[in-house]
Protein backbone atom coordinates (compact mmCIF):
# COMPACT_ATOMS: atom_id res chain seq x y z
CA UNK A 1 0.00 0.00 0.00
CA UNK A 2 1.36 3.44 -0.87
CA UNK A 3 1.16 6.14 1.73
CA UNK A 4 -1.06 9.11 0.84
CA UNK A 5 1.28 12.05 0.21
CA UNK A 6 -0.57 14.31 2.63
CA UNK A 7 0.31 12.01 5.51
CA UNK A 8 4.03 12.01 4.97
CA UNK A 9 5.19 15.37 3.64
CA UNK A 10 8.85 14.33 3.70
CA UNK A 11 10.90 11.14 3.67
CA UNK A 12 10.00 9.02 6.68
CA UNK A 13 13.56 9.10 8.00
CA UNK A 14 13.24 12.86 8.48
CA UNK A 15 10.58 12.60 11.16
CA UNK A 16 11.89 13.18 14.67
CA UNK A 17 10.41 9.96 16.04
CA UNK A 18 11.96 7.93 13.25
CA UNK A 19 15.36 9.57 13.73
CA UNK A 20 15.14 8.70 17.42
CA UNK A 21 14.16 5.11 16.58
CA UNK A 22 17.09 4.64 14.23
CA UNK A 23 19.54 6.22 16.64
CA UNK A 24 18.37 4.25 19.69
CA UNK A 25 18.07 1.00 17.78
CA UNK A 26 21.52 1.42 16.31
CA UNK A 27 23.08 2.21 19.67
CA UNK A 28 21.40 -0.71 21.40
CA UNK A 29 22.16 -3.32 18.75
CA UNK A 30 25.58 -1.96 17.87
CA UNK A 31 24.81 -0.93 14.29
CA UNK A 32 26.87 1.98 12.94
CA UNK A 33 24.84 5.08 11.93
CA UNK A 34 26.02 4.66 8.33
CA UNK A 35 24.35 1.25 8.14
CA UNK A 36 21.20 1.77 10.14
CA UNK A 37 18.98 2.86 7.21
CA UNK A 38 19.97 -0.28 5.33
CA UNK A 39 19.52 -2.49 8.40
CA UNK A 40 16.01 -1.21 9.00
CA UNK A 41 15.01 -0.60 5.38
CA UNK A 42 12.20 -3.16 5.45
CA UNK A 43 11.07 -1.93 8.87
CA UNK A 44 10.87 1.62 7.53
CA UNK A 45 8.59 0.49 4.73
CA UNK A 46 6.45 -1.35 7.27
CA UNK A 47 6.20 1.79 9.41
CA UNK A 48 5.09 3.74 6.33
CA UNK A 49 2.34 1.21 5.75
CA UNK A 50 1.32 1.45 9.42
CA UNK A 51 1.12 5.23 9.08
CA UNK A 52 -1.22 4.76 6.14
CA UNK A 53 -3.18 2.18 8.14
CA UNK A 54 -3.86 4.62 10.99
CA UNK A 55 -3.84 7.79 8.84
CA UNK A 56 -1.15 9.55 10.85
CA UNK A 57 2.51 10.39 10.50
CA UNK A 58 5.18 8.93 12.83
CA UNK A 59 5.48 12.01 14.99
CA UNK A 60 1.73 12.26 15.44
CA UNK A 61 1.65 8.62 16.49
CA UNK A 62 4.46 8.94 19.03
CA UNK A 63 3.10 12.28 20.23
CA UNK A 64 -0.30 10.77 21.00
CA UNK A 65 1.31 8.30 23.41
CA UNK A 66 3.50 10.82 25.22
CA UNK A 67 2.74 14.22 26.64
CA UNK A 68 5.04 16.78 28.26
CA UNK A 69 5.28 16.36 32.00
CA UNK A 70 3.40 18.95 34.04
CA UNK A 71 6.20 19.02 36.56
CA UNK A 72 9.76 19.42 35.40
CA UNK A 73 11.24 17.98 32.25
CA UNK A 74 10.53 14.74 30.48
CA UNK A 75 7.35 13.22 29.15
CA UNK A 76 4.47 11.24 30.60
CA UNK A 77 3.06 8.11 29.03
CA UNK A 78 -0.56 8.29 27.91
CA UNK A 79 -1.64 4.78 28.83
CA UNK A 80 -5.02 4.97 27.11
CA UNK A 81 -3.42 5.98 23.82
CA UNK A 82 -0.85 3.22 24.21
CA UNK A 83 -3.61 0.64 24.71
CA UNK A 84 -5.35 1.90 21.58
CA UNK A 85 -2.15 1.59 19.56
CA UNK A 86 -1.47 -1.89 20.94
CA UNK A 87 -4.83 -2.89 19.49
CA UNK A 88 -4.13 -1.11 16.19
CA UNK A 89 -0.76 -2.82 15.85
CA UNK A 90 -2.42 -6.20 16.43
CA UNK A 91 -4.98 -5.35 13.72
CA UNK A 92 -2.19 -4.24 11.38
CA UNK A 93 -0.25 -7.44 12.06
CA UNK A 94 -3.32 -9.53 11.20
CA UNK A 95 -3.95 -7.49 8.07
CA UNK A 96 -0.39 -7.94 6.88
CA UNK A 97 -0.32 -11.57 7.98
CA UNK A 98 3.18 -11.04 9.31
CA UNK A 99 4.55 -11.07 12.81
CA UNK A 100 7.57 -9.16 11.53
CA UNK A 101 5.29 -6.27 10.57
CA UNK A 102 3.95 -5.99 14.11
CA UNK A 103 7.43 -6.29 15.58
CA UNK A 104 8.79 -3.50 13.37
CA UNK A 105 6.06 -1.09 14.46
CA UNK A 106 6.43 -2.07 18.13
CA UNK A 107 10.16 -1.43 17.82
CA UNK A 108 9.38 2.12 16.65
CA UNK A 109 7.20 2.67 19.73
CA UNK A 110 9.68 1.09 22.15
CA UNK A 111 12.64 3.16 20.99
CA UNK A 112 10.45 6.27 21.30
CA UNK A 113 9.90 5.48 24.99
CA UNK A 114 6.51 3.77 24.67
CA UNK A 115 7.08 0.37 26.27
CA UNK A 116 4.96 -2.50 25.04
CA UNK A 117 5.21 -6.22 24.48
CA UNK A 118 3.00 -8.41 22.36
CA UNK A 119 1.97 -11.97 23.03
CA UNK A 120 4.91 -14.31 22.66
CA UNK A 121 4.90 -16.96 19.96
CA UNK A 122 4.47 -20.44 21.42
Amino acid sequence: MSVPFHLLDRPITEYIGVKLWLEEYGQFWGIPPSMIDQELSSSLLILERFCAFVGKDPDQIAGECLRPSKVGEGVMLRTKARREYIGLIADFERKEGSRASGSAVRSFFIHNGVAMTPSALR
Binding site: W29, R99, S103, T117, P118, S119, A120, L121
Partner: protein, 303 residues
Protein backbone atom coordinates in the same frame (compact mmCIF):
# COMPACT_ATOMS: atom_id res chain seq x y z
CA UNK B 1 22.16 -27.77 43.95
CA UNK B 2 24.10 -26.37 46.88
CA UNK B 3 22.51 -23.43 48.67
CA UNK B 4 25.16 -20.89 47.71
CA UNK B 5 24.88 -21.92 44.09
CA UNK B 6 21.11 -21.51 44.20
CA UNK B 7 21.56 -17.96 45.50
CA UNK B 8 24.15 -17.36 42.80
CA UNK B 9 22.00 -18.59 39.93
CA UNK B 10 18.84 -16.75 40.90
CA UNK B 11 17.88 -14.03 38.48
CA UNK B 12 14.62 -12.35 37.53
CA UNK B 13 14.06 -14.57 34.52
CA UNK B 14 12.00 -12.89 31.81
CA UNK B 15 12.37 -15.42 28.99
CA UNK B 16 10.68 -18.75 29.66
CA UNK B 17 10.35 -21.71 27.30
CA UNK B 18 6.62 -21.42 26.57
CA UNK B 19 6.39 -24.91 25.12
CA UNK B 20 7.77 -26.70 28.17
CA UNK B 21 5.35 -27.35 31.03
CA UNK B 22 6.46 -27.34 34.64
CA UNK B 23 6.02 -30.64 36.40
CA UNK B 24 3.47 -30.58 39.20
CA UNK B 25 5.95 -32.17 41.61
CA UNK B 26 8.28 -29.22 41.13
CA UNK B 27 5.46 -26.82 41.93
CA UNK B 28 4.75 -28.82 45.06
CA UNK B 29 8.42 -28.68 46.07
CA UNK B 30 8.24 -24.88 45.86
CA UNK B 31 5.06 -24.81 47.94
CA UNK B 32 6.69 -27.13 50.48
CA UNK B 33 9.46 -24.53 50.88
CA UNK B 34 6.90 -21.76 51.34
CA UNK B 35 5.06 -23.98 53.85
CA UNK B 36 8.24 -24.19 55.91
CA UNK B 37 9.19 -20.52 55.69
CA UNK B 38 9.43 -18.54 58.95
CA UNK B 39 6.06 -17.29 60.18
CA UNK B 40 5.94 -13.70 61.35
CA UNK B 41 4.74 -13.72 64.97
CA UNK B 42 3.96 -17.41 64.41
CA UNK B 43 0.86 -16.39 62.45
CA UNK B 44 -0.44 -18.51 59.60
CA UNK B 45 -0.74 -15.70 57.05
CA UNK B 46 0.54 -16.84 53.67
CA UNK B 47 -1.76 -18.37 51.05
CA UNK B 48 -0.93 -19.30 47.46
CA UNK B 49 -2.99 -20.16 44.44
CA UNK B 50 -1.25 -22.01 41.60
CA UNK B 51 -2.53 -21.06 38.18
CA UNK B 52 -1.75 -23.07 35.05
CA UNK B 53 -1.60 -20.85 31.98
CA UNK B 54 -2.98 -23.53 29.69
CA UNK B 55 -6.00 -24.10 31.93
CA UNK B 56 -7.09 -20.47 31.53
CA UNK B 57 -9.65 -19.41 28.98
CA UNK B 58 -8.61 -16.88 26.36
CA UNK B 59 -10.66 -14.25 28.22
CA UNK B 60 -8.98 -15.02 31.52
CA UNK B 61 -5.54 -14.90 29.96
CA UNK B 62 -6.40 -11.59 28.34
CA UNK B 63 -7.62 -10.18 31.64
CA UNK B 64 -4.23 -10.53 33.33
CA UNK B 65 -2.24 -8.99 30.49
CA UNK B 66 -0.83 -5.51 30.67
CA UNK B 67 1.03 -3.60 27.94
CA UNK B 68 4.36 -4.63 29.42
CA UNK B 69 3.80 -8.13 30.82
CA UNK B 70 2.01 -9.71 27.90
CA UNK B 71 4.90 -11.74 26.55
CA UNK B 72 5.91 -13.03 29.97
CA UNK B 73 2.33 -14.10 30.69
CA UNK B 74 2.44 -16.15 27.50
CA UNK B 75 5.86 -17.64 28.12
CA UNK B 76 5.47 -18.77 31.73
CA UNK B 77 3.34 -21.92 32.02
CA UNK B 78 2.70 -21.50 35.75
CA UNK B 79 1.86 -18.51 37.92
CA UNK B 80 1.89 -18.62 41.71
CA UNK B 81 -0.16 -15.87 43.31
CA UNK B 82 0.64 -15.01 46.91
CA UNK B 83 -2.01 -13.74 49.29
CA UNK B 84 -2.15 -12.77 52.95
CA UNK B 85 -4.96 -14.16 55.08
CA UNK B 86 -5.94 -11.16 57.15
CA UNK B 87 -7.94 -13.22 59.63
CA UNK B 88 -4.77 -14.98 60.79
CA UNK B 89 -4.29 -12.64 63.75
CA UNK B 90 -7.94 -12.91 64.79
CA UNK B 91 -7.75 -16.68 64.70
CA UNK B 92 -4.67 -16.55 66.89
CA UNK B 93 -6.38 -14.52 69.61
CA UNK B 94 -6.86 -17.61 71.82
CA UNK B 95 -3.08 -18.12 71.82
CA UNK B 96 -3.61 -21.80 71.13
CA UNK B 97 -0.90 -22.11 68.48
CA UNK B 98 1.71 -20.50 70.74
CA UNK B 99 0.76 -22.76 73.64
CA UNK B 100 1.13 -25.75 71.34
CA UNK B 101 4.67 -24.61 70.48
CA UNK B 102 5.40 -24.25 74.20
CA UNK B 103 4.07 -27.76 74.86
CA UNK B 104 6.25 -29.08 72.03
CA UNK B 105 9.33 -27.54 73.72
CA UNK B 106 9.82 -25.19 70.78
CA UNK B 107 9.21 -21.94 72.66
CA UNK B 108 11.30 -22.47 75.79
CA UNK B 109 10.59 -21.23 79.28
CA UNK B 110 14.19 -19.98 79.41
CA UNK B 111 13.09 -17.19 77.12
CA UNK B 112 9.96 -16.48 79.09
CA UNK B 113 7.46 -18.58 77.18
CA UNK B 114 4.63 -19.90 79.34
CA UNK B 115 0.89 -20.30 78.75
CA UNK B 116 0.32 -17.44 81.18
CA UNK B 117 2.70 -15.19 79.25
CA UNK B 118 0.77 -15.91 76.08
CA UNK B 119 -2.60 -15.15 77.70
CA UNK B 120 -1.54 -12.06 79.64
CA UNK B 121 1.06 -10.48 77.38
CA UNK B 122 1.27 -11.74 73.82
CA UNK B 123 -2.41 -11.89 72.99
CA UNK B 124 -3.54 -8.59 74.56
CA UNK B 125 -0.35 -6.59 74.04
CA UNK B 126 0.81 -7.84 70.67
CA UNK B 127 -1.99 -9.46 68.66
CA UNK B 128 -4.76 -7.21 69.90
CA UNK B 129 -2.70 -4.08 69.32
CA UNK B 130 -2.08 -5.15 65.74
CA UNK B 131 -5.77 -5.63 65.11
CA UNK B 132 -6.81 -2.40 66.80
CA UNK B 133 -4.08 -0.18 65.37
CA UNK B 134 -5.86 3.11 64.74
CA UNK B 135 -3.34 4.00 62.05
CA UNK B 136 -5.20 2.59 59.05
CA UNK B 137 -4.33 2.60 55.36
CA UNK B 138 -6.65 2.40 52.39
CA UNK B 139 -6.03 -0.79 50.38
CA UNK B 140 -8.83 -0.54 47.84
CA UNK B 141 -12.58 -0.64 48.01
CA UNK B 142 -14.54 -3.35 49.71
CA UNK B 143 -18.03 -4.42 48.79
CA UNK B 144 -20.66 -3.65 51.40
CA UNK B 145 -21.62 -6.41 53.77
CA UNK B 146 -25.05 -7.87 53.19
CA UNK B 147 -26.11 -6.64 56.62
CA UNK B 148 -25.17 -3.08 55.71
CA UNK B 149 -27.09 -3.34 52.47
CA UNK B 150 -30.16 -4.51 54.34
CA UNK B 151 -29.78 -1.84 57.01
CA UNK B 152 -29.52 0.92 54.43
CA UNK B 153 -32.44 -0.50 52.53
CA UNK B 154 -34.49 -0.58 55.70
CA UNK B 155 -33.64 3.02 56.42
CA UNK B 156 -34.55 4.15 52.93
CA UNK B 157 -37.72 2.14 52.64
CA UNK B 158 -38.98 2.94 56.09
CA UNK B 159 -38.48 -0.52 57.47
CA UNK B 160 -38.66 -2.56 54.25
CA UNK B 161 -36.14 -5.28 53.36
CA UNK B 162 -35.50 -4.47 49.71
CA UNK B 163 -31.86 -5.07 48.81
CA UNK B 164 -30.38 -2.12 46.96
CA UNK B 165 -27.02 -1.43 45.42
CA UNK B 166 -24.75 0.42 47.78
CA UNK B 167 -21.57 2.07 46.63
CA UNK B 168 -18.44 0.26 47.74
CA UNK B 169 -16.62 1.88 50.62
CA UNK B 170 -12.86 2.34 50.85
CA UNK B 171 -11.33 -0.74 52.41
CA UNK B 172 -8.86 0.08 55.15
CA UNK B 173 -6.50 -2.09 57.14
CA UNK B 174 -4.58 -1.48 60.34
CA UNK B 175 -1.09 -0.44 59.25
CA UNK B 176 0.49 -2.94 61.67
CA UNK B 177 -1.48 -5.80 60.12
CA UNK B 178 -0.51 -4.74 56.61
CA UNK B 179 3.18 -4.55 57.55
CA UNK B 180 2.90 -8.00 59.09
CA UNK B 181 1.16 -9.40 56.02
CA UNK B 182 3.65 -7.91 53.57
CA UNK B 183 6.59 -9.16 55.63
CA UNK B 184 5.17 -12.69 55.75
CA UNK B 185 4.53 -12.74 52.01
CA UNK B 186 7.99 -11.35 51.28
CA UNK B 187 9.66 -14.09 53.29
CA UNK B 188 7.50 -16.69 51.55
CA UNK B 189 8.34 -15.31 48.11
CA UNK B 190 12.06 -15.43 48.85
CA UNK B 191 11.74 -19.11 49.78
CA UNK B 192 9.70 -19.77 46.66
CA UNK B 193 12.15 -18.01 44.36
CA UNK B 194 15.20 -19.86 45.66
CA UNK B 195 13.32 -23.15 45.66
CA UNK B 196 12.34 -22.63 42.01
CA UNK B 197 15.95 -22.30 40.91
CA UNK B 198 16.89 -25.27 43.08
CA UNK B 199 14.30 -27.26 41.10
CA UNK B 200 15.98 -26.24 37.84
CA UNK B 201 13.41 -23.61 36.96
CA UNK B 202 13.44 -19.89 36.37
CA UNK B 203 11.16 -17.44 38.15
CA UNK B 204 10.25 -13.79 38.19
CA UNK B 205 8.04 -11.65 40.41
CA UNK B 206 5.68 -9.79 38.12
CA UNK B 207 3.09 -7.13 38.78
CA UNK B 208 -0.39 -8.23 37.79
CA UNK B 209 -3.52 -6.35 38.77
CA UNK B 210 -4.51 -7.55 42.26
CA UNK B 211 -8.16 -6.95 41.44
CA UNK B 212 -7.95 -9.27 38.46
CA UNK B 213 -6.05 -11.93 40.39
CA UNK B 214 -8.60 -11.78 43.17
CA UNK B 215 -11.38 -12.47 40.69
CA UNK B 216 -9.42 -15.13 38.85
CA UNK B 217 -8.50 -17.04 41.99
CA UNK B 218 -11.94 -16.61 43.59
CA UNK B 219 -10.41 -15.94 46.96
CA UNK B 220 -12.24 -14.98 50.15
CA UNK B 221 -12.70 -11.27 50.80
CA UNK B 222 -10.38 -11.38 53.80
CA UNK B 223 -7.35 -12.40 51.73
CA UNK B 224 -5.17 -9.44 50.83
CA UNK B 225 -3.95 -9.27 47.24
CA UNK B 226 -1.16 -6.76 47.22
CA UNK B 227 1.70 -9.13 46.39
CA UNK B 228 3.43 -9.75 43.08
CA UNK B 229 2.72 -12.88 41.09
CA UNK B 230 5.55 -15.39 40.67
CA UNK B 231 5.93 -16.48 37.06
CA UNK B 232 7.49 -19.90 36.76
CA UNK B 233 8.94 -21.89 33.89
CA UNK B 234 12.03 -23.33 32.30
CA UNK B 235 14.67 -20.91 31.02
CA UNK B 236 14.34 -20.10 27.33
CA UNK B 237 17.81 -18.60 27.33
CA UNK B 238 20.95 -19.24 29.29
CA UNK B 239 21.03 -19.61 33.05
CA UNK B 240 23.47 -16.68 33.11
CA UNK B 241 20.62 -14.47 31.83
CA UNK B 242 23.06 -11.68 31.13
CA UNK B 243 25.09 -12.16 34.29
CA UNK B 244 24.56 -11.20 37.89
CA UNK B 245 23.05 -7.77 38.27
CA UNK B 246 25.32 -4.93 39.31
CA UNK B 247 24.84 -3.82 42.88
CA UNK B 248 25.83 -0.71 44.72
CA UNK B 249 29.10 -1.08 46.64
CA UNK B 250 28.79 -3.66 49.46
CA UNK B 251 30.06 -1.16 51.99
CA UNK B 252 27.25 1.28 51.20
CA UNK B 253 24.65 -1.26 52.27
CA UNK B 254 26.19 -2.98 55.27
CA UNK B 255 27.66 -1.58 58.45
CA UNK B 256 29.55 -2.93 61.39
CA UNK B 257 28.74 -1.83 64.93
CA UNK B 258 27.04 1.37 63.87
CA UNK B 259 25.86 3.28 60.83
CA UNK B 260 28.75 4.93 59.05
CA UNK B 261 31.24 2.16 59.75
CA UNK B 262 31.14 0.04 56.61
CA UNK B 263 31.25 -3.73 56.85
CA UNK B 264 34.28 -4.12 54.59
CA UNK B 265 34.27 -7.07 52.18
CA UNK B 266 37.05 -9.59 52.83
CA UNK B 267 38.55 -10.55 49.43
CA UNK B 268 39.23 -14.04 50.75
CA UNK B 269 35.53 -14.60 51.43
CA UNK B 270 34.67 -13.19 48.01
CA UNK B 271 37.10 -15.66 46.44
CA UNK B 272 35.57 -18.58 48.33
CA UNK B 273 32.04 -17.57 47.30
CA UNK B 274 33.17 -17.26 43.68
CA UNK B 275 34.51 -20.79 43.86
CA UNK B 276 31.19 -21.90 45.33
CA UNK B 277 29.31 -20.00 42.59
CA UNK B 278 27.35 -17.67 44.83
CA UNK B 279 29.25 -14.80 43.23
CA UNK B 280 29.24 -15.15 39.45
CA UNK B 281 30.23 -13.09 36.45
CA UNK B 282 28.46 -9.78 36.52
CA UNK B 283 26.69 -8.13 33.61
CA UNK B 284 27.46 -7.21 30.91
CA UNK B 285 28.39 -10.48 29.28
CA UNK B 286 29.90 -10.07 25.83
CA UNK B 287 27.44 -12.44 24.16
CA UNK B 288 24.25 -11.19 25.81
CA UNK B 289 23.09 -8.93 22.95
CA UNK B 290 23.32 -11.84 20.57
CA UNK B 291 21.28 -13.95 22.94
CA UNK B 292 18.63 -11.23 23.32
CA UNK B 293 18.40 -10.91 19.56
CA UNK B 294 18.01 -14.66 19.09
CA UNK B 295 15.39 -14.91 21.85
CA UNK B 296 13.40 -12.03 20.36
CA UNK B 297 13.47 -13.72 16.93
CA UNK B 298 12.49 -17.08 18.37
CA UNK B 299 9.58 -15.72 20.41
CA UNK B 300 8.39 -13.13 17.89
CA UNK B 301 9.21 -10.17 20.09
CA UNK B 302 10.22 -6.71 18.92
CA UNK B 303 13.81 -5.52 19.07
Amino acid sequence: MEFKEVVGWRRSIRFFAPWRPVEREKVQAILEAVYRAPKVLELDIVRCVVIYRDALTAEQLESIRSPINSAQIDMAPVYIQFFADLQAAERAMDGGHLKELIDLDLLPASFGWTHDYVDRVIVPQVYKRILTDSNRVVVGRRPPLLQEVEEQAQARAGGGRTVVAVEAEPATLPLSLLVLANTAVGIAQAHALLSAFDEGLGAHLCGISPVVMKQLCRIPDYWHTGASTMLLGYHAGSWEDGGQRPREPFEEDFFEGRYGTPFVQDPGVVGRLKAERMIQDEAPLAWRRGELSALADMLGLPK
